[in-house]
Symmetry: C2
């Protein structure tokens, strides 16, 4: 690698807005789910890049992290897999007898999930229509507690989920404690978040693949303690927890329905 | 993966200018050269991302592409490995008896190469000082014919290399024919290049890793026919060639020294 000295001025014109995440999944699926072939690049708004070999979205139960296995094994009855990706958790839960519907706003993710036998719908967890009924159990695995976005959004999102639930409904999600990374760039990012009144692990990211990128969106890493504080008025309570290194999975149970949430 | 709807405005502040390429190599080296751990993201100026698992920069001879093996086996005597990266070609050539010096402008690449036993210097191929003598053979492998940058720069660069050479000196390099990719984004990029009077495979790229990025630089993919036309007045001639799919390696031989080049 040599850095030339007489480059022309770069004309940065892209990337193009599109289903960067889903296209990475679709490419990997077409290639038989093999590793070392298709990557999603998660770009944080400080320029930090996280690279994911999307073959991991095709992992079967045995390859899931231990705390995710713990959660999947507890998903019973009618299950909503939120942000189902390529369907790894939906398939694992269905194999254990659950009746699973997956949702994801990414057309590519929905396509791949369907190809793999998952009943998958293109929608976000905030959408109520068309009605797909109530669920015994919801999954926010694959670190999808991150989809709670922020301290502010979390209440609204949990209210939306409660509308698909009844008292006793359980929600399994996982995350990691952002404070456990000592990488100076992450420490700096957390500090800037604090300075601006946000939770330390509140990331703004987009997912890029080849020439495509998603819009920027909020993604939240939070410790179990932060989660506990955040849900205090939502009717959801942490009823079980499984930790694994800096990661953890929780079982949330809905203990009060409806009244505590905005309409 | 769910796309939230109420994101804050992204404040894109990075990435930071630095040795993105070298830091990826250094990280991979620290991790024992294992795959699936460290990635370099090559970002083209149309927003297209190419992801490289930098473990491949640590490949031993047996893992090199066949046309690169062909080239390495022919590198004899005093060898200059240009853009040596983590030293894969330098080490392979040295193992076969060559006396190799590697150069790379990336401090991280030089560090890793040195750790792996390569005599490596931090410099570009255009730099003449301090004098490191003449070479029997030069390597532009790992697709480092790309470092010829452009039609215009190639003559200057080959002149600079000729100053380290004598008539009969051989240069082994490889590239790939950019026209053989039918991906619509690549086709569009080539077309835009043609429209602007550049060679179709003239890429403007930068290498990113975590929060770091190199400067934008020119990198040229060219067919063997384009190479042949480009070097016609440089004193270098294609004397051997080995093809492999859309890739190829050439042996260039310096047939005339000095006079044809600018001072």
């Amino acid at each position: 690698m040599i850095k030339p000295e007489h480059g022309r001025e770069p004309k940065v014109v892209g990337p193009v807005l599109g289903d960067g995440f889903g296209e990475a999944l679709r490419e990997c699926w077409t290639a038989g789910g093999k590793t070392g072939h298709s990557y999603a690049t998660i770009e944080r708004d400080d320029g930090f890049l996280f690279i994911t070999d999307v073959a991991e979205y095709f992992d079967d139960f045995d390859k899931l992290e231990r705390h995710e296995q713990w959660a999947v094994k507890r998903a019973k009855g009618r299950v909503l897999d939120i942000g189902c990706g390529a369907g790894r958790h939906a398939i694992a839960a269905a194999d254990m007898g659950a009746d699973v519907i997956g949702i994801d706003p990414s057309p590519g993710a929905v396509y791949v999930s369907q190809q793999r036998g998952v009943r998958a719908l293109k929608r976000t967890m905030k959408e109520q229509e068309p009605d797909i009924g109530k669920f015994d159990c919801m999954l926010l695995l694959g670190y999808n507690l991150g989809l709670l976005e922020s301290r502010q959004e979390a209440v609204e999102i949990l209210a939306s989920l409660a509308l698909k639930a009844e008292v006793g409904t359980r929600l399994f999600g996982n995350s990691l404690d952002p404070a456990m990374s000592s990488h100076p760039d992450h420490a700096r990012y957390r500090e800037e978040n604090r300075r601006q009144g946000r939770m330390p692990g509140a990331y703004q990211v987009r997912i890029r693949h080849k020439n495509l990128t998603t819009d920027w969106f909020d993604y939240l890493y939070l410790s179990s303690k932060e989660l506990e504080e955040l849900i205090v008025d939502t009717g959801w309570e942490i009823t079980e927890m499984e930790t694994e290194g800096q990661s953890y999975a929780v079982e949330l149970t809905l203990t009060r329905a409806g009244a505590v949430f905005p309409a």
